[in-house]
Every structure is written in C-alpha cells, then in structure tokens.
Amino acid sequence: MNTPREKIIFEHSRPGRAASAQLPDAVQGDARPMTIPAHLLRADPPALPEVSELQAVRHFTRLSQLNFSIDTHFYPLGSCTMKYNPKACNSLAMLPEFLARHPLAPESHGQGFLECMYELQEMLKAVTGMVGVSLTPMAGAQGELAGVAMIMAYHRARGDTARDEIIVPQAAHGTNPATATMCGCKLREIPCGPDGDVDVEALKKAVGPQTAGIMLTNPSTLGVFERRILEVARIVHEAGGLLYYDGANLNAILGKVRPGDMGFDVIHMNLHKTFSTPHGGGGPGSGAVGVNKRLLPFMPVPIVAREQHADGERFRWLTEKDLPQSIGRLSGFMGNAGVLLRAYIYMRMLGREGMQRVAEYAALNANYMLARLRGAGFDAAYPQRRASHEFILTMRRQAKELGVTAMDFAKRLLDYGF
C-alpha cells in the first residue's frame, strides 16, 4: 500500500466545523468574558484548523506513516545513537498520577517522583564517577552550557578572572563551540592527529593562563578512544584549566571506563542517547550534568536531596538557598521530568550488568560492522584503530575513482530504508 502525500491540515478545514467533544461548556453562556477591557481583547480569531475529531486523527495518523522511526526502521547512526525506546518506559512514565502532578504541588505529594529522581542522580554518579549530579538541563546543549558556566563560575569564585578561553578539537560537535560562545568565552580549536587522537603538542601550545577549560568527548566524534587521555588531563589541569566531557553518548564506555576516573571535572549526558529516552522527531532530550568535588557548589538547581526524619526518609528539592553559589536555574521548573522518569525506568531494567553490556555489545556491533564493510571493500578512516560504538568510513577513493560521494551513498541507503 502506497501512502500518498497528505494534505496540509488547513486544507481539511471548514468554517464552523469542530471536534465538539473537546469543547468545554461555555461557563457564562458567552465566550467573551465581560470583565476584561475591550482594548485587551483579540479582534479576529486565530487561524487554527476547524476539523472533526476523526479528520484530525486521520490526518496525524497518516502523517506519522510518512516517517522513518526506530519502531519501523534501523538507523545506523553513531553519535546520535537510536536505540529501542522500551514501551514500558513510556507507559510507566505516563501513569495518570505522574502526569497530573503540578511541579509546584507540595513535596509531600511528590515523594514517589522525587525518590525516582534521587535514585537517578545516584545511578548517574555511579556510571560517570562524579560526586554530584543535577538533572535540570533539558538537552545536551543545555548540559554543556551548565558545564561551561560552572567552569567559569569556579574560576571567578577563585578570583581567576582572566580565564576566558575554551579549547575544542576541530572535530567537536557543533554545540561545543556554540556553547562556549553563549557562555561568553573565546574559542580555541586544536587539530587531531592522523590516528584520531588529539594532537598533544598542539594542546600544549594552546593552554595557558587564559585557559578556562577544554571540551572533549572520549571516544571522540571520530569514533576512537583518546589513548593519551591521562596526559591530556594533566596538561590542562597543570595549566589551571578544567576538563569538560561531552557525554552525549556513553554507549561506548558504560561500565567500562568512567569520565571521572579519566580526570574530567564535569560531564553532561544525553539521556536520549545512552539511556534510551525517545528522540521524538527532534526532542525532548535531557542533558543531566555530573561534577567532581571542585564544581559541587556551582551546580544548577534544583537538585533532589534525601533526608532522614524520625518517620522515615523524605526527599526534597535543594534550591538557590541551599546552593548559594549555584549557576542558577535553567528551566521554569526542574527540567524534563518525564524524560528523566523514562531514563530512570530504563536504568532500573538494565541494572549494573545490563549497563556494562551496553558498551560491550555496542563495541561488538560497531567493530563487526567495520570488519564486514572493510571486507566489502570500504576504507576505514582510522584503519589501525578499534571502533568504539561508531566508526568513520572514508569515501575519498570512491569519490575519486567512481565519482560517487559519501552523500550519494547516504541517500541511496535511505531508499533501502536505512
């Protein structure tokens, strides 16, 4: 069956039509409230569609069928890992009581939710090797912003006001430099060597008293593990800078090696990549941040604390009052609560062994795919290296010899449903 293109919703619209079951009764018999002065009222109704409920359902159901999705297709993406979004994560996060809870409702009626958030913080600490976690950033990029803001707050709090430069490798994800700019920092790019590792000599030249920090991801966006990471950390720390770990994707290292142990001071994690919350056609994400001891006082609020009381344990939000040096708030309430619940549920199902297996089987799959594609005649960008959870093939040869570019391959793969 060939799903045809679907009209724009406004083409289904007829003046006066409505999904009447959705109309609340007019409370005062009249839709124009008399207590509001006329000059504050709208003259013409907004141009929203006027359709029946069935028309709406049919239109949006048909639209959905025009998409690729994990539930229908395989996305062999690297950094933006698309893994199965367990149905239970969705249905349990959407239990009516969770959905109905107002963010400013009394904490006494949110202990169930808060307990989940507290345990999520603890689990994220355990997998990153950090000592503090804040769940409030609403996506990876906001986590980065929080991280760089904390780095800056740390230097400022020490009176170290000259540090305003953030170092990023040339291959860094676009959000890294964009974040540095948003945080009022200058950018300094450094190259990678031919084996994919950071060019340590270039790094040594780049650091100095102006260095606020460096943003890295490891394995890097080139898909290889930075083998000299401890040396890199030493160089940056000795120069007085801090290390930021772009943990958008932890699939390659989960339970195998921890950013905290590598020497990183702060990390953000895209729960929508590693912990399987849905991409939703572009969001929502969640960019929880973890920090080591140095940055603890600067974490964004709110954060969940557990307290022992005579009648048992209780959970509550820590706010600016509890963390006066906090970089502050990043969202209207506490971040993407429902996404966090989904990540929590996923992590509870995985458990400690399951998390390690995430990295094991990601590595197995990536290296297998690399081996098979090399066998099929393609060239690895870093043929001497292990793949992490992703790898780069270079189409340079094909482009030269056959005039077929990487883009051509990518588009043709789409025709086959990848």
Binding site: A149, G174, L230, G283, R352
Partner: protein, 457 residues
C-alpha cells in the same frame, strides 16, 4: 541485558569476523588502570514486571485530588487523541528530521505547528520549539541583542510582574554575555506594571523591554502603552504570553501600533500534561525581518526534483551544526514531541475550542477568587482584571495552610513569600476549565475550616 538481541552463537560469529577472541579485547585501547570492574552504586537489573510494580506504587503515593496551582503550568483537559497519536512509534521513536526523505511526517507537523503559532501570536514566523518558556525568554533576550544592531547597551528591562523564575533563568543563561537586566516595579494596588515606571528610562539606550501578558499575578498589563513606549524609545519588545489566553487576548503582533518584535512563552497549556514540570516546550515567533537571528529549527515548504511538494529544514545557517561558534544559539535537540502534541491539541480544539477553554478558565478563576474572598480573613490582593490566575491575601503564613490543604487532597496555590516578601501572606491561585462549582466550593470550604480551626486554637 534486557534489550540485547545477541545469542551466544551470534556473538561467537561476530568475534570471529572481527578477529578477536573476546569482547573484552575490543576495549584494549583503554588504559588498563582506568578499566572499571563492577558498577557498584547501580542496583541489579529488574524485569519489566518488577519495575512496573515499583512505578505503580510510587505513582500512587503522589496522587492529589484537586489542583489549584498555576504559576506557569496549567491544568487543562487534554483530549485523549493527543497522546494516543503523539506516542505512536513513528513520531515517538523518530530521529531529528535532518533527512527530509525519512521525516516528511515530522516536517509537515512542524510546518503546521509554525503556521498555527504564527497566527495565534499574530507574528510572521515561528520556530520549531525551544526547551521551555523560561529558557525561551533567555533565548529571546540573546536574540534581541543580536537583532538590535543600533543598541549597544545590552540593557533589558524586566517588570517585577514577570515570572520570577523566568527572570532567574534569563540571568543564568543570558547573563554570561554581560547583559544587564533591570527590573520595573509594579503597582501595589493594581498588580500591574505602571507605564509611568518607564519614564525613568526615557531616551536611554535600552535594547529590549519584556512584557508578560497576563503577568505572573494573573493580572492584565497595559500592553499597548508599554509597547508604544518601547517603540518611541527605540527598544525592541519581547512578549511573554500564555498561548491559551491568546484565543481571547490581543495577540502581541497587534500590541501598540505595529506589534512586538519577539514573542515567546511556555507551550505546556497546549496539550502537555503537568508532569512535575516537564517535558514542556517553549514557543517563539517573530517578524520576518528578525528571522536570521532566531534560534532553533525552522521548517519550510518546498518542491523536490520531480516538482512534488515537500517539507525541509530551512535557514540552517543560523544553527550550531553549520555555524558552530557563530550560531544564533547552541540549541540542537528541542522539544519536538511536545510540539507534536500541541499541534494535535490546537487542531482538535480549533479556534472555538481554544476560546472556550480560555473563557471557562477565566470564569472559573473569577468564581474561585470570589468564593475565597467570602472567607473571613481572605481577600483579593489586586484590583486590576485578571485572566486565569489571581493573588489572595490571607491572614496567616501560607506554608502551614498549604500543608493542611494538601492533607485534604488539595494543592491550594503558590506561596508568594519567597519571591514577593512585600506582599505578606499571599497565595497565587488558579482555576481552569477543569474545575467546576463543586470543586471551587470544596476548596473554599476546606480553606475556611482550616482558617477557623486555626483561629479557635
């Protein structure tokens, strides 16, 4: 590992193809000293049944019968169709629509969303969503400073009637680039921003004025006068609005003589459950002249090589994945799924439905304020008209009153003590179309009995 398809035979065959003996060998580039042994601190895995039981028990603990809190997140009825469709795998588990060929459903959805939001706010162009209302305001401030070429001050005026959390978030995010946020006082009797408060800034280099309508107290601002002041003084105007209210209230595109520059706000009221605070979504619309300064994704309609119509991301040169350090924002992932819900919500409600929701919410709030004001010791705090929220003054500290109400299954409002100590004992309360007369009477009766019990004691 619950979601792992590999059988032992698969694993063996794959290792052989790679040419290693064990999975462990694949991690041999990681320095041995760094290798983790076991993940202490993470509990053992549970199966779906066990986790389900835990989550059901926790959800049950959080049950609350009646909610009268608003303050930036509003309880509205959400048609069942909204989430039945939003959670379809093809929307829920779809990737970011970078590949137009694989994402026409999502792209057309965004296009329709943008059309609706532009009309609702009275502006020319909308983006595909931001994280939420508060961070959206921060983005709007950053955008205003970029867009206002002639202003060098980066001074932004914010009324104190603007949601205090929004003010904090704007400072956290946009404050790092050295912007100066200055606050405007409000009228202690009316609860609105006095246009005269702006006189002090006449003729100064102000980059932007922020106006929230209805304001944090639920009170309606004199948006025309405020907007005109900004125009006269060369400042841009950023409107922060409640989307439900726009079914009835004058859209920012019509404020003053020719409208505002940037509109942003919290999209949650449009079909997104309260859900302890998120995920919600921020919306943003603007004039065409500012579009290249807008943060976030934008979808346009186009035709493919065969002349067939289709949709695609457009103006991507604003974005971080192209422009990196020079992008309009670092935003990448946005709140696509919530935007999906909102588009379906707006379609199901239509202009009639949204107007009825707005009118009913307004009417119920007036009914609530009147019912509470009949209780001895309780009075309406501000005199100016409100939309669907209002402040009541009570005769004792709200903390204990709210606890007592909670024990009776009522979330009774927001204690304003922390953000507005000058108001004394004051509660911000809200009623939407979801509340009926019995609910309101029940709240009033419980509050009355708590108050009189306290007086008797």
């Amino acid at each position: 590992m619950p979601f792992n398809p590999h059988t032992p035979a698969d694993e063996r065959a794959m290792l052989d193809a790679i040419g290693v003996r064990s999975i462990d060998d694949l991690f041999d580039e990681i320095p041995a000293s760094l290798r983790v042994k076991a993940l202490e601190g993470v509990p053992a895995g549970l199966n779906e049944m066990e986790v389900s039981r835990i989550m059901h028990e926790r959800a049950e603990r959080d049950r609350m019968a009646l909610n009268f809190v608003g303050a930036g997140a509003y309880e509205h009825h959400i048609p069942a169709a909204v989430w039945a469709i939003t959670t379809r795998g093809e929307f829920y588990s779809a990737y970011t629509p970078y590949q137009a060929e694989a994402s026409q459903g999502t792209l057309q959805m965004i296009y329709e969303y943008q059309s609706m939001m532009a009309s609702l706010t009275g502006m020319e162009v909308s983006n595909a969503s931001l994280y939420d209302g508060a961070s959206g305001l921060a983005e709007a401030c950053l955008m205003a400073v970029r867009a206002h070429r002639r202003s060098r001050s980066a001074r932004i005026l914010m009324p104190q009637t603007l949601n205090p959390t929004y003010r904090r978030v704007a400072r956290s995010i946009a404050g790092m680039q050295g912007f100066k946020f200055e606050e405007l006082p409000y009228d202690a009797e009316g609860g609105h921003t006095l246009p005269e408060a702006l006189n002090a800034y006449d003729g100064q280099d102000i980059t932007a004025l922020v106006i929230q309508q209805p304001n944090f107290f639920g009170v309606l601002e004199e948006v025309d006068e405020l907007t005109r002041w900004a125009r006269r003084n060369g400042a841009l105007v950023i409107a922060v609005v409640n989307p439900t209210s726009l079914a009835l209230l004058k859209p920012p595109g019509k404020w003053g003589d020719d409208g505002v520059d940037i509109v942003c706000g919290e999209g949650q009221p449009l079909g997104v459950p309260l859900s302890s605070g998120g995920p919600y979504f921020g919306f943003m619309t603007t004039r065409m002249e500012h579009v290249r300064q807008m943060p976030g994704r934008i979808v346009g309609r186009t035709v493919d090589l065969d002349g067939k119509p289709g949709f695609t991301l457009t103006l991507q040169a604003r974005e971080q994945h192209i422009r990196r350090g020079k992008a309009t924002s670092n935003i990448c992932t946005n709140q696509g799924l919530l935007m999906t819900a909102a588009t379906i919500y707006l379609t199901l409600l239509g202009p009639q439905g949204l107007a009825r929701v707005a009118a009913a919410s307004h009417a119920r709030t007036q009914e609530l304020l009147a019912a509470l004001a009949r209780i001895p010791g309780v009075r309406r705090r501000f005199s100016r008209p409100t939309f669907h929220e209002g402040v009541v003054a009570i005769d004792r500290p709200p903390g204990a009153v709210l606890e007592a109400l909670a024990a009776r299954g009522i979330a009774g409002g927001l204690d304003l003590a922390e953000s507005y100590p000058e108001l004394g004992n004051a509660l911000l309360v809200c009623a939407t179309e979801t509340k009926n007369t019995q609910d309101i009477e029940r709240y009033a009766a419980e509050l009355g009995s708590i108050a009189s019990a306290a007086r008797a004691a």
